[in-house]
Every structure is written in structure tokens, then in C-alpha cells.
Subunit: 395 residues, 2 copies
């Protein structure tokens, strides 16, 4: 049970206040769980009002007592109903009529937004979803420690896979065994994604050709899943010998995500796949070499793409036919954080960013090979958080 | 791998068209995964245009081939990018300028909505989230068969709990064991909720006092969860003798949810809890007796509340201190479907509704007892889908 220290929360709020000032906003009303937890240390049902200067006010609907214990903020008050937000803000002297207020309009549904427009008609509400994502993009040393704990859990989970892998086991059975080990070790389960209607259960585990099955998911792979109703990840296919077993799972402890992929095989793989896997490792190595503070995300992506193309496996890189145009993404409290190591993403790396790099090659007739690890951007380059054998793991 | 039959999809679409007509809308653009799957049989990334009359058009971004296989709709076309929606609609002769279009504004984020306003400025966009929820509220015989499959899975999962329950096991370890069994049997994992920012991982499992820990979740219980970052359900507490072990888990197969709660104990429980559990069973029985087509949800809730109060356990019913004001809820593709058996919910039951009834009593000093089962509303009353011992299960 990790409780976020007060100085962490206040430092984060200060960054938000600085951004509000730059955008000429009077304050922000935060209500999305991942952001709430980030700024307050509690994920209870609550509203955080952050004025552009001065003390923030956390109004908690449910559960108030838990939020009081979990959040180190100085002003934590009970909110009997959503309607009382302005009344309570007034009583704390932080309500201004005709204010310009930032809210998370990248996630807030229209119907909820209209409620605010109707009840707080004097407010001009502005989208600060991206502002918050940019603040969260740079992790503090405290957060990096938590990410390391997730990485340690994830390494244990991966160390345990080989002993569960037997020919004749279904993907779902193998997934069940891996998830069992993760969960008993304290994996929180639910993986948070910010993207509208994105969902992921632990990660994706596919064998052979299933590893090349595309999906709705914004990633290079998909997998058939157990049914058309839930068409992602592990399905009913039986794991066989001499096919790549693709395991792309999320480590998740105290809210913080690391992302990691390894390839297993019972027997051996065709030479082509072994070669493509080596290219993936070389791309990872080149990215690690190049990804220093100041390096530009889209240039890193282009470099990876060029390497894939000059290897002769370009057609298989990050998808086959329809591809995704990224090779890495930020992780933290959510799986789809900033930055994205992607085409047309001109952001420069900064110290404290945490990114998952995932060069992968998809072969419709065989499945998927490649690697994924989670890294911290340090002054002198990338530090790898997820340490585990990177070659194809042969059983 | 269950594929939705064509007549199912078309019957559902017809209901939507009827509702569009009643609301003087020209069409609906559906893009939320649960609704897409309901109307089309595929959960790929797609846009379904339903005109008020005539043939619907499913435009699929990713993955097109899977959607073609999964959806029985006649018009399934490839959508290279979101911007092309109107162009493709035009080429199929179903685009009208200045149309009144229904969209799922209960779930669509403001930022996405603004994209539509900007790119399709001639459209008047109207919220049909509730309309779709009302259509989905009445299940077809085909859907009820799928719900029965989920119920069979869930009964097997619950039959397996007793053998895993040992004093000294942590809640997380017990949860891991139950989830392992569910998952290897084909449980899809991810539980869909429509409510903004609601999340649930498999269900809630708490022992003793943890069962009375409140949370952000819109339910009578919560549980501490593994950390303040994920403050719901199973946590690190060790399961002990003579305390109620509360297991409220979701069965989920082919997309369809059943909800079920049972109480286990190693040893025995204080007389007070045993009595309260009996009252919960009596409330369930009375609800089953009264919940016929035509019965009004809020009357059923009031009846349950009255029974709880006259039993002397009123203060503990559906929460302690802060309570929820419902005793049941619809289930289907999502856990939080209509109707709600709640205060101020004047809807009458109809044949084909599927509801989870969950009378529960919360004792801060001991934990939670009570029952939950999933039922279909039939002509002559409720049919119980989830069959399993309802007394406190003593080990």
C-alpha cells in the first residue's frame, strides 16, 4: 500500500498551475480517475479544483474517509452531491464567476459536459486533457521507483512462463496460468487506457498465426480473443511446437504500468523469423543508442523504419498490410501515455520520460516476433527497466 | 466462437429505426464498441450508419476482414480514415445534408464530438445513448441463451471456490485462483461498464471487515483493492476463520455478463450475520415473487427496503452510513445496464429484461452478507439463471 507523499502531489499541482497560467485559465476541475490519483494520491470519486494560484480543494463524494487517509492534500472536504461543487468552492473562497476553467474534455462524455454547462453557465470550459498528459509525461524519481517495482513483478511473471508452456495447452489456459502468477503477486488487474473505447485485459498472448491476427486495437498485433464480442488477445487456439509464442503483457503494481514482450518457442522457428527477431533486437539497440534527451520522436521512428526496410523485412514491420505508424509509446498510470515514438510526432525526448519500445515483425503465415521493453529517459540515454532474456526463448 | 445471426442484428436495427422515427431523426451513427457489437455482430473499430429507413452501412476501419467475417450485415465496407465517413455514406446514397443524427453522447468524449461538429457541420447531433440502452434492455431468446452459457460458466467457477479456500490465504491469492479457473474456461476477462470512468476487474472479493470498506464504485460494497491507485476489490488482507468471505464475481462468456454473489466462511459466523443473510434471502424471494411484467422498479426497491427495515437490519441494507439506493440492475453486454431496481425509477418490468438482484447487508465491524443472482423476466415471473447454493457456505 503505497501512499503518495505530499511533496509529490504539490509538485505536480504546481506544474498544472504553471500551465494554467500560461493558458490564461483561472483554474482546473479534475475528475478523471487516473488524473485525480496523479494529483491527489486518491482514486476515490472526487473533484479536484486547482486554482491558478493558491491552495487546491479536493471535494470527495465517495468514499470521503478513504480519500482523507489516502490524499496528503491539505484541503479535503466532503461533497454530498455533484451540484454542490460551486457552493463548496464558494465557501472555500476559490469560486470566481465568469472563470475560464480547464477540464479533461478528451475523456469527459458530452452528456456530462452539458451538465456542467447547464449548472455552471458562467464558466468558460476549456480542454486541458493534453496539458495534463504532457505534465504526466515526465515522471518524478518517486514514480520511477514505482515503475521499477512493476518491472520487478513483471520480470518474475516472465521468469515463470517457461515452466507453464507445454504443447497442447490452449492460449487461454496459458494466459490463465500467467495471469494467476501475476495476480497472486499483487498485479492490480485492470489496465487503464485513456483512448476512447480502448480496452486491454492484461495484455496479448498469441501463438503462431494467431499472433498475426489484426484487431481494433491501436497496436501492431491483436489476436483473435475468446470471441467476436471480445476480439483481442488470447483465444482458443492450441499452442503447438515450432511456432512463435508471442507474449506482450503489462506489469502493473501500485498503479504503474510497464510493458514487455518476449517470444517463446517449443522447438525452433523458421530461419526467417529468427532473423527478423535479430533485426528487432538491433532496432531496439539502435533506438537505445539514439534516444537521448533532445532526440526527436519522429526521427527515432524513422530510424527504426529505415532499419527495418534495409533488413529486407520492411513489409512486416509493425504490421503486415495495414500497419501502425509508431514503434513506442509512453507508459505510466495509463498504457497509452505520451510521448509516442511515431511518424509526425515532433516532440523531443526529455529526462524522466518513460517509454515502451516495441519493434515487431508480423508474418501472416507464421505469427509475430520482436521485443518490447520499458525504459526511462536519463541524461545520458535510456535506462532499461524490464530486464529479461531477449533472445527467442527456446524450450 | 459465437457469431451473431443476421436476423438478430436486423431485428435490433429495426428497433433502433423505429426509435429514430419516433424521435424525428434521419439516422444514427454508432461507434461505441458494446453498441456496435450489439447491432452488427462485430466489435472491430467501425462506424455503423443506421438510416431511419432502409439498409444500414457498416464502415470498418480496423480490422476490415474480421468485421466482414463476423458481421452478417449486407453492407460492410472498408473505411480508410474517419474523415471519409461522409464520402462513403454519399457513395452508398445514404448521406443527407442537414440531417438530424443520433450519436452515443452519453459515452462520446467532448473532444471527439467536436471533431464531428467541425467535419460534419451540417449535422444536428442528438444524444441517443439512452434510446440504445432502452433497446438493449430487452433481451432476445438468442441473447438469453448466451446469458445461460455465462451462467453455466459462473456456476462452475463458484463450485470450485470451496476447494481453494484455506485460512491464511490472501484475498489476492484467492482471487487469483478463482480467476485462473474462470479464465481457462474461456472467461473473456474485461468487464464492460458504460458509466463514465467506472472500472471493475472480474468482481469484488473481500474477507471480514474488508467487505465493508466503501469505495468510489457505484455499488453497496467496495473493498480496499491492492493499493490506493486501484482501490477496489481484493487486497492484501489474509482470509481468516469465522468471518464472511464475500465473493461478488461476474460471469462473462461470448460478451454476456451474469452477476452473482455468495458468502463463504471457514468456521461459522456471528448469529447477527446469519440472520441478516436469511433476511437477504427472504428479500430475494419476495422480489422474485413480485417481479412480474408490469411491476414497477421503484416499488420493488421500496418493498426490499421495507423488508430490510422491518427486519431490524435496515441501517445495514445496501451500505452502512452512505448507502446506494438500488437493489438490482440490468446486465447484458455491460454490467450497468437498464433497468435499475432503484428509488425514483418508475419503469415497469417487461418480458426479456435481465436483472441482477443483490440484497446485501453491510456490518462495518464484521463485513458483508447477502446474495446476488441474475434473472430473466418471464411472462409469469423471474427465471433464475445463476443456480448455486444460496445459504452461507460453511467450510
Amino acid at each position: 500500500m503505497e501512499h503518495t507523499p505530499a511533496e509529490e502531489c504539490y509538485r505536480r499541482i504546481e506544474k498544472l498551475q504553471h500551465a494554467l497560467q500560461e493558458q490564461n485559465l483561472d483554474g482546473a476541475l479534475i475528475l478523471y480517475r487516473a488524473d485525480l490519483f496523479y494529483f491527489t494520491g486518491t482514486a476515490q470519486q472526487a473533484y479536484l479544483y486547482v486554482p491558478v494560484t493558491g491552495e487546491s480543494l479536493l471535494m470527495v463524494k465517495k468514499d470521503f474517509e478513504r480519500a482523507q487517509k489516502e490524499s496528503p492534500l491539505r484541503h479535503v472536504v466532503y461533497l454530498p452531491s455533484q451540484r454542490k461543487v460551486i457552493e463548496i468552492m464558494k465557501s472555500f473562497g476559490c469560486y470566481q464567476p465568469k472563470a475560464h476553467i480547464g477540464m479533461e474534455l478528451d475523456v469527459l462524455p458530452v452528456r456530462h459536459f452539458r451538465w456542467y454547462q447547464e449548472h455552471f453557465p458562467e464558466w468558460q470550459i476549456v480542454d486541458i486533457g493534453s496539458t495534463i498528459r504532457e505534465i504526466r509525461m515526465i515522471k518524478s524519481p518517486y514514480e520511477i521507483d514505482l515503475l521499477k517495482q512493476s518491472a520487478r513483478l513483471q520480470e518474475k511473471v516472465f521468469s515463470n512462463i517457461a515452466q507453464e508452456l507445454k504443447p497442447g495447452i490452449s492460449e487461454l489456459e496459458l494466459a490463465a496460468r500467467i495471469e494467476f502468477f501475476a495476480r497472486r503477486s499483487g498485479h492490480q488487474g485492470g489496465v487503464r487506457l485513456r483512448g476512447f473505447d480502448q480496452e486491454l485485459f492484461y495484455g496479448n498472448l498469441m501463438s503462431g498465426k494467431s499472433g498475426a491476427v489484426k484487431s481494433y486495437f491501436d497496436g501492431p498485433t491483436g489476436g483473435p480473443g475468446p470471441s467476436p464480442a471480445y476480439p483481442l488477445g488470447a483465444g482458443w487456439k492450441i499452442v503447438e511446437e515450432n511456432e512463435p509464442i508471442f507474449i506482450d503483457y503489462v506489469g502493473l503494481y501500485n498503479g504503474y504500468i510497464v510493458d514487455m514482450t518476449r517470444i517463446f518457442v517449443i522447438g525452433s522457428l523458421p530461419e526467417k523469423l529468427v532473423k527478423a527477431h535479430q533485426v528487432a533486437l538491433e532496432i531496439q539497440e539502435a533506438l537505445v543508442e539514439a534516444a537521448r534527451p533532445g532526440a526527436v520522436c519522429q526521427d527515432l521512428y524513422q530510424m527504426a523504419l529505415d532499419m527495418a526496410e534495409s533488413s529486407g523485412f520492411g513489409a512486416h514491420f509493425m504490421g503486415y498490410g495495414e500497419k501502425v505508424s509508431f514503434v513506442g509509446h509512453g507508459v505510466g498510470l495509463e498504457l497509452d501515455e505520451l510521448p509516442v515514438i511515431a511518424r509526425k510526432f515532433p516532440v523531443s525526448l526529455q529526462e524522466g520520460m518513460v517509454i515502451a519500445l516495441e519493434p515487431k515483425f508480423i508474418f501472416p503465415e507464421y505469427g509475430t516476433v520482436g521485443i518490447e521493453n520499458t525504459f526511462v529517459v536519463r541524461k545520458n540515454g535510456l535506462e532499461k527497466l524490464t530486464q529479461f532474456e531477449e533472445q527467442i526463448i527456446q524450450l
